[in-house]
């Protein structure tokens, strides 16, 4: 299966990052993987990424509960980015929260494609891959 270029993971849990990277490798998910520990770091990192002449990653895996800047605050700021720069970017929320209020809130962000409850499985990644590459 054709792999995706430029995948971004925003999560403060380094065990999770280890895990998802390992799973991505198994299914040959993507080539370049950007990792940020919180929303603020991600915003700064992605800005630098753009300034260096790169395109935005096509997929962002975003955690909700993070210190300094959480997932919601990241989404609010990220939505302000010029649409022409977006490169068909979609966001997948990956969280442990089963709070229905979170699920309702996600619907107000068109950029968010889906909500994945932790733990992430190989199957989850394959579904995303099909949707995105097809």
């Amino acid at each position: 299966m054709k792999n995706l270029k430029d995948v971004c993971i925003i999560d403060d849990d380094h065990i999770f990052i280890y895990g998802i990277k390992r799973l991505m490798k198994e299914v040959n998910f993507g080539e370049d993987i950007l990792v940020y520990e919180n929303g603020k770091e991600a915003l700064n990192g992605l800005r630098l990424h753009l300034e260096a002449g790169n395109k935005l990653p096509s997929i962002i895996f975003l955690d909700l509960n993070m210190p300094i800047m959480n997932g919601w605050d990241f989404l609010n700021d990220f939505c302000k980015i010029d649409a022409s720069e977006l490169n068909d970017t979609v966001v997948y929320i990956i969280s442990s929260s089963v709070d229905p209020r979170d699920l309702v809130r996600i619907k107000s962000y068109p950029i968010v494609k889906d909500y994945i409850l932790k733990p992430v499985t190989v199957n989850d990644l394959e579904v995303i891959q099909k949707e995105k590459v097809a």
Binding site: F16, N65, S96, K118
Partner: protein, 606 residues
């Protein structure tokens, strides 16, 4: 000559006079008499009076005969009912005239038209009958009593009824009424005191009737010889009056018992009136104020006076019904809640002329309502935090458990020994985090269940110093300056372990969020504020974006995290601990300036 003089004198006499002889033939007359007799062409001298006057009655004739015999002056009143004319009343005065002293030679007859007087008399009688005013009279010498027709009618006795004083008194209702009239009559007879009293009688037909009895006395030689007066049927009016009195009495009792004050505002005269209940509602004395408006204005809570007046104006304009609430401040400082309603009365053009309304104190309801609302607030807050708590527990446990299951999955498939070691290390880390999370949760649950009886007297200064000492290394690392401006003898009511936990949390927060641009300064001060000791915990760190996080800084919305820099649960626990000690916590902050936490603890007086 003498006869001529007399004749001339009679002729010009300014009354209707006629002189007749014993045969009743006319000898002489006044001009006026002749003038009143119409259709007379010839002189009436020598003609019998019967031939001249065709309306003389038998009684008149009888009187003339008697007068000729006995020589006494008599009067006869005659009612004339001519067919084509109005009723007329004539009064004849018949007197004898004598020539040789003893011998009666004839009669002098004077005619007087008394129609006018009679008509007035009749009118009065009629009026008395319509007003149901009767008359009565008692002759104490002859011991007789006389009742007029109306008096008899009122007593419902036949017209031929002949009363006496005792019978008259017995018509009064047995008991209070009869006793009263008895004493009034005996006082009148004894001392000549007149009376005017409203009493009840029982008529001959057994009906109870209210009457107004008036009595006067006539005194001769210091003795009452006659009593007379009026007797009026006032039953209808009296019953209405009594009914009205009963209703207003009932209202008075009801308003008094219910503590409802009634007010009355005359807009034409610009006069406001209060009943006694109003004064007691406001706990003010009538004599302390020049007017009711002043009393009201000085009693109403200054914050409520404007809106109450605005509502009143709107009601007068007819835009709303007056139905409002305001607070009053009693002279002892107590604040009470008053409910006010009113109704505007308008004239035919729609102008407001008067307003009548009521006030009552509903502080009790207000208090109950507030208590209920507070309870509801607490319940919904608890419910809310319970829901949050459940989600946080679920979230945190899930994040660790999912890591654990993922890692064990990798581990079972991993062949590489080095990678396996890495996985074991991560497994340990994940299980430690899980343990930590469970500990935090236990702490939260404990705050919720910790008993209030663990409250002790805590010296605030010593508690601060103790925590500061424990953090000495960390504070020094950040080159922190601590300014503690707390009196050494301030005592608060607190759970010692919570105090340590709260202060530790605030210190570590300041350390975690200190600004890299400047050395950290922590200022702690304490002041007395009512029943509380207020502690200000102030730093010059990064500050908190309250616009963004204000509502959730003390909530459990921000989940606790195993990350070293994580915040969230700390302030939540702090808030719960303070509240379980009957205190409260507030925050004030500016980004990149610092944060100030204000803590309130129960003060203990030394």
């Amino acid at each position: 000559m003498e006869s001529l003089v007399i004749s001339s004198f009679i002729k010009d006499y300014p009354a209707s006079v006629v002189i007749v002889n014993r045969e009743l033939e006319i000898i002489d007359h006044s001009e006026l008499w002749l003038k009143e007799l119409q259709n007379i062409n010839q002189s009436p001298i020598g003609v019998s009076i019967y031939n001249i006057i065709n309306y003389t009655s038998e009684e008149f004739l009888k009187c003339c005969e008697e007068c000729l015999q006995r020589g006494e002056i008599t009067k006869v009143i005659q009612k004339l009912n001519p067919l084509e004319e109005k009723t007329r009343w004539l009064e004849w005065t018949i007197s004898p005239w004598k020539e040789n002293h003893d011998k009666i030679n004839g009669l002098i007859i004077i005619k007087n038209d008394i129609t006018e007087t009679k008509r007035k008399e009749e009118l009065l009688l009629k009026a008395k009958s319509i007003a149901r005013i009767g008359g009565w009279e008692v002759d104490l010498v002859a011991n007789t009593m006389y009742w007029t027709e109306v008096t008899k009618e009122i007593h419902e006795v036949p017209m031929d009824f002949i009363p006496n004083l005792e019978e008259g008194i017995n018509f009064y209702k047995e008991g209070v009424d009869r006793n009263k009239i008895t004493s009034l009559v005996s006082d009148a007879i004894k001392d000549g005191v007149p009376w005017d009293k409203e009493l009840r009688i029982i008529t001959a037909k057994g009906r109870e009737l209210w009457v107004r009895a008036k009595g006067e006395v006539e005194i001769v030689n210091n003795k009452v010889v006659r009593m007379y007066g009026t007797f009026q049927d006032i039953d209808e009016k009296k019953r209405v009056e009594l009914k009205c009195e009963e209703v207003s009495d009932r209202l008075l009792i009801a308003t008094k018992v219910a503590s409802i004050g009634i007010w009355d505002y005359d807009m034409v005269e610009n006069k406001l009136l209060w009943d006694d209940n109003m004064y007691s509602l406001y706990r003010v004395k009538k004599e302390d104020f020049s007017g009711v408006v002043e009393a009201w204005e000085s009693s109403v809570h200054p914050e409520d006076i404007k809106s109450a007046q605005e509502e009143l104006d709107l009601a007068i304009k007819g835009e709303i019904e007056f139905n409002t609430e305001f607070r009053v401040v009693w002279p002892n400082g107590e604040v009470r809640y008053i409910k006010a309603i009113g109704h505007v009365i308008r004239d035919s053009k729609g102008n407001a002329v008067k307003m009548i309304g009521a006030n009552w104190d509903f502080s009790k309801d207000k208090k109950a309502e507030k208590k209920l609302k507070d309870l509801l607030d607490i319940t919904s807050e608890q419910n809310n935090s319970l829901t949050n708590f459940a989600h946080i527990v679920s979230h945190n446990l899930r994040s660790h458990s999912s890591n654990l299951s993922m890692l064990t999955g990798f581990f079972s498939e991993e062949k590489d020994k080095e990678e396996k070691n890495r996985l074991i290390k991560m497994l340990c880390e994940a299980s430690e985090s899980l343990d930590e999370t469970v500990q935090h949760l236990t702490e939260v649950v404990q705050v919720k269940t910790e008993a209030i009886d663990k409250m002790r007297t805590v010296n605030l200064y010593e508690a601060i110093l103790g925590v500061k000492k424990n953090l000495a290394v960390l504070l020094k690392e950040k080159d922190t300056t601590c300014k503690i401006d707390v009196s050494k003898n301030l005592q608060i009511n607190a759970i010692p372990a919570y105090m340590d936990s709260i202060l530790l949390n605030l210190f570590t927060n300041s350390l975690k969020y200190s600004s890299p641009k400047r050395p950290l300064i922590i200022k702690i001060s304490a002041t007395r504020k009512g029943p509380y000791i207020k502690v200000d915990f102030c730093d010059n760190g990064l500050g908190i974006d309250l616009d963004r996080h204000g509502d959730k800084i003390f909530g459990m919305y921000k989940t606790f995290h195993r990350h070293e820099d994580a915040k969230g649960i700390g302030l939540f626990i702090t808030k719960n601990q303070i509240e379980s000690m009957n205190g409260k916590i507030e925050v004030d902050s500016q980004i990149d300036k610092g944060a100030t936490f204000r803590l309130y603890f129960e003060a203990i007086d030394n």
